[in-house]
């Protein structure tokens, strides 16, 4: 009797292990997490209460309390993205195996990228506040350093997918390495590059809103103050403002991405 199975034994065992591990992890976490059951039961009530206190939204608060800070967050997001891209491009070229044929350089570049994105923007912000003092400089650098990780990784992957034939032709004509990178690889990854930049900027607009919680500038500080002083309506105003900005940014990037593709 000939049988047919979709997956080999090894594959099935691997999948089974994954399922098992997932269930085990969830069960273990449920047992050990220190959450008091009464709080869980209470939670919906508490959340509803908080939302009730946020109404009516303090619209008048926007001009003096929110606008400046919101603009500051936008500038932090934009400049941070620009800085990140400037730093990420060379690292991405070094990380791509087909561009840089030295394995140790590839590993070093990839290590830099992984470390950069493993540290959250907020944690970077803490570090930079400790070095540069509170304010927008720390925030911009935090956004920049965290973003290098993702931008560099995605750009490196785009480079590795480039058509090697064109590069071979340029090599055969005696072009130096830098010309290969600029005239051979770069034109091929340009659309992917802009897509990555827009995508990252969109995410950074969200990230920049929270930097203020650790003193790194932007609208987060206003929100932190309002919440600590229990000024719920003002907090609500800030949240609405953030919502609008994020929505506009997402729409803008979606439209722009359609045009570059």
């Amino acid at each position: 009797m000939r049988t047919w199975q979709r997956f080999t034994l090894a594959e099935r065992m691997a999948r089974f292990t994954v399922y098992f591990a997932v269930i085990a992890a969830i069960a273990a976490s449920l047992q050990t997490v220190q959450v008091i059951p009464e709080f869980i039961a209470d939670a919906p009530e508490q959340v509803a209460d908080m939302l009730r206190r946020m109404w009516p939204v303090a619209w008048g608060f926007y001009p003096q309390g929110v606008h400046e800070a919101l603009m500051e967050s936008l500038h932090i997001a934009s400049l941070g993205t620009v800085l990140a891209v400037l730093m990420a491009v060379p690292v991405a070229f070094l990380a791509a195996r087909n561009v840089t044929p030295f394995a140790w350089l590839n590993y070093l570049a990839k290590l830099i990228l992984v470390s950069a994105r493993s540290v959250n923007t907020l944690i970077w912000a803490l570090l930079f506040v400790a070095v540069f003092g509170p304010g927008a400089l720390a925030g911009t650098l935090a956004i920049a350093f965290h973003s290098i990780g993702f931008t560099g990784k995605l750009l490196g992957e785009a480079l590795e997918e480039a058509n090697r034939g064109s590069i071979e032709a340029l090599q055969a004509s005696g072009a130096p390495w830098l010309s290969l990178a600029l005239k051979g690889y770069w034109p091929q990854v340009r659309p992917a590059f802009w897509g990555i930049v827009l995508f990252r900027w969109d995410i950074n607009v969200r990230e920049s809103a929270v930097l203020g919680f650790v003193g790194a500038g932007g609208v987060g500080m206003a929100l932190d103050t309002a919440l600590n002083l229990f000024q719920w309506e003002r907090a609500a105003m800030i949240l609405v403002a953030i919502f609008v900005v994020v929505l506009v940014a997402e729409v803008a990037t979606t439209q722009l991405r359609k045009r570059i593709l």
Partner: protein, 269 residues
Amino acid sequence: MTPIAAAEPAVASHRGAGAPALIVKGLSKEYVPGKPVLRGIDLEFAPRGITAVIGPSGTGKSTLIRCINRLVEPTSGQVIFEDRDLVAMNRAELRAARRRIGMVFQEYNLVERLTVMENLLCGRLGYVSPLKAWLRRYPQRDVERAFDLLETVGLAAHARTRADALSGGQRQRVGIARAMMQEPRLLLADEPTSSLDPKTSVEIMALMQTLSGMHGFPVIINIHNVELARRFADRIVGMTGGRVVFDGVPEAITDEHLKSIYGGEDWLE
């Protein structure tokens, strides 16, 4: 399968005037140790004329072409071009030497997203600094030469068209023009017509023949269409099993030779 030991006496007796443009001595290549793809090839190429290298797939024709400009590193042997051994050069010297060798590819190998003009100017990358190339500040002389070449290959109307908007034949003409931008002393072609229809293939071969006659450089073409080889080449080199088994003028190649190169009779009918 034993290669023909006795090639016809009408062997490469068409040496052009002057010293050979390219000498290949004892060229060997083993991708996997112990399984050589090229077994000690010895060839000399005159400074004029088209040489077609024919043979079945996997016999090392492409490897031979690519070993000449070291896109594939030879395991041993010498490639002497302009009085210097290319195999012994370091990377910088090799780059300088490659500027004088043009190459045309089966898949055209253009930078698809760039315009025809920009692809042509890429042929000068060996001569222009990276910064200038990126800023598109090529010497006007190169730009003029590019426009002239476009007219020669019949693509003057497409200077600003993107490469991926062209047909296969048009792209190959851009590829040839790009190689010509280098003002090469030798042109290599790795199956330049394999992706083209029969009519276009003839046009491309004719173009290379015209250019080689006009500018006076030798052409080495790796081709598997024997008819095209017969029609356009001044000399045919037949390879099998990593060795040269025929080397002579197209008129001298007989069905016997072709059988021993390619094996079997059926395809000859």
